[in-house]
Symmetry: C2
Subunit: 237 residues, 2 copies
C-alpha cells in the first residue's frame, strides 16, 4: 500500500472527530486513529474513542500518554469548574476557559511523527471554524502554517518523496451539517461523547458549552441525538 | 516579571542544550528548563539534564513523559544497534538512523504550551546546522516555519499581546565555537552527556557519532573534555 493511501486521524471520541474518522475511511483504505490521555478529568472520552475506532474498523488505534497538567492553564485539566448554561454571546465573547494551551499543535505533532513512521501522507483533524471559533489553533491559517512547517520537518518531505497534507473536512461545516454527513457515512453518535463534565457512566451534563452546541446541532439537523436517547431510556445510576 | 523576561529552554542534558541554557540565562532573569523522558534506552541523559539545570539555577526544571516508542522508527528508542566508529563521510551521507521522527516538532510544541502558560515569549533550542546537518528539523527554515505556526497557535499571539520567538543561538556555530562560548559562560561540561550508548555510570562509548563529534569539537577548541577526564581518572566499573 502506498503512502498516499494511508491516513492518520486525530480521534477524541467526540462528535466531530468521530465523523472525520468515517470521512477519512471513505477516502483511504488504511486509517490509523490517534488519541491522547492528556490529564483529562474523566476517561469517558477515551472509552468512546476506543469504541468508535473499533466500529469504524481502523487498521490501528493508538492512545498516547502525555501530561499537560504539568503546565496547567485549562479547565479540562485543572481543578476549576466547567462553565454551565452559557448563552451564545457568553460562549463567543472570548476564548473559552476550557482552552488547553497549544493542544492541537502538540496533537498534530504526534500525528506527524506517526505519519512519518507509517509513510502516510494524510493527517485528518476535526477542527471547525464555524460553531466554535474561540480556539486559535482551530483556524484555517493555523492549519496551513502547521502543514508548511510539517513539510520542512520530516525526512520524507525533505528528501522529496512525499508531501504531508493536513485535512480539515469539517472546517467550514455547521454542527448540523457535520451530523448530517456523519449519519450518511454510518457514524453511530451513541458511541461518542462531547460533554466536558460527564457522569462516570458517560451521561452528558447537557449544560456545558459542548453539550449545548451538540444539542443545537441535532435540533438544526432535525435528528434525535442517539446518545441522549440512550440515557433517557436508561435508569439513573 | 514581564513575558519578555522569561524563557523556556529545551534541555537534553547534552553539550549543546547545556550551553544554550547558559546563553538564555545571560539574557533572561527567569529561565525554565524542559526535558523529556521519551523512551530513551538509558537514563544518563536525564540525570545530566537535572544536574545541569540545578547548576544553572533555573526557575524550574520540568521533565515530561512521552512515549515515542509506540511509533517506532529510531535507533535511540528501538532495539537496533547504534552505529559506531563511522567516518565523516558516512555520518554526513544520509540522515542518521538515530533520527527520531518529528522529535523537535513535538518538543517545541510542548515548549510552546509551557511558554503560553508562563506568558514567556522566548523559546530556546540548541539545534545546529554546521556539525550535524542530517536532521531535517535542525535546519533554520524549519525553525522559522515553526515560529510562524506558533504565532498563529496561541491565545497570546492571536490576541496581539505578544509574539513568540524561537531562538537558536548555536545554529551557525561549530562544535568548537559552542564549547568556547560555553566555557566563557561557566558551563561545566563534566555534568553533560552526549553519548548515544553510554554505560550505566554515564561513561561515554567514545565511538558513536555523537561522541566522535564531541571529541573533535574539544580537540578543535584546544580544551580537554572534563567528562572524558573524569572517567579516565575513575577506575573502570
Amino acid at each position: 500500500m502506498s503512502g498516499s493511501e494511508k491516513a492518520v486521524v486525530l480521534l477524541s471520541g467526540g462528535l466531530d472527530s468521530s465523523t472525520v474518522l468515517r470521512m477519512a475511511g471513505a477516502q483511504h483504505p488504511e486509517v490509523y486513529a490517534l488519541s491522547f490521555r492528556y490529564g483529562q478529568r474523566h476517561s469517558v472520552e477515551l472509552d468512546c474513542a476506543t469504541r468508535v475506532a473499533t466500529a469504524a474498523g481502523v487498521s490501528k488505534h493508538t492512545i498516547i500518554d502525555i501530561d499537560l497538567r504539568q503546565f496547567g492553564g485549562s479547565a479540562l485539566t485543572d481543578d476549576i469548574d466547567v462553565p454551565k448554561d452559557r448563552s451564545d454571546a457568553e460562549m463567543s465573547a472570548d476564548i473559552p476557559i476550557t482552552y488547553v494551551p497549544a493542544r492541537n499543535t502538540i496533537f498534530l505533532s504526534f500525528a506527524l511523527a506517526w505519519a512519518e513512521v507509517l509513510k502516510a501522507n494524510h493527517i485528518y483533524v476535526g477542527v471547525n471554524a464555524v460553531d466554535y471559533s474561540g480556539y486559535p489553533d482551530c483556524r484555517p491559517e493555523f492549519i496551513t502554517a502547521f502543514e508548511d512547517m510539517a513539510n520542512l520537518a520530516t525526512k520524507e518531505a525533505v528528501e522529496g518523496r512525499s508531501r504531508v497534507q493536513i485535512h480539515t473536512p469539517l472546517i467550514d461545516l455547521t454542527k448540523a451539517e457535520i451530523i448530517q454527513q456523519g449519519m450518511d457515512l454510518g457514524v453511530d453518535y451513541a458511541l461518542t461523547s462531547s460533554c466536558y463534565d460527564p457522569g462516570d457512566d458517560g451521561r452528558p451534563c447537557m449544560a456545558c458549552d459542548s453539550c449545548l452546541l451538540r444539542q443545537k446541532g441535532f435540533l438544526a439537523a432535525g435528528v434525535t441525538d442517539p446518545l441522549v436517547a440512550k440515557f433517557e431510556q436508561a435508569p439513573y445510576a
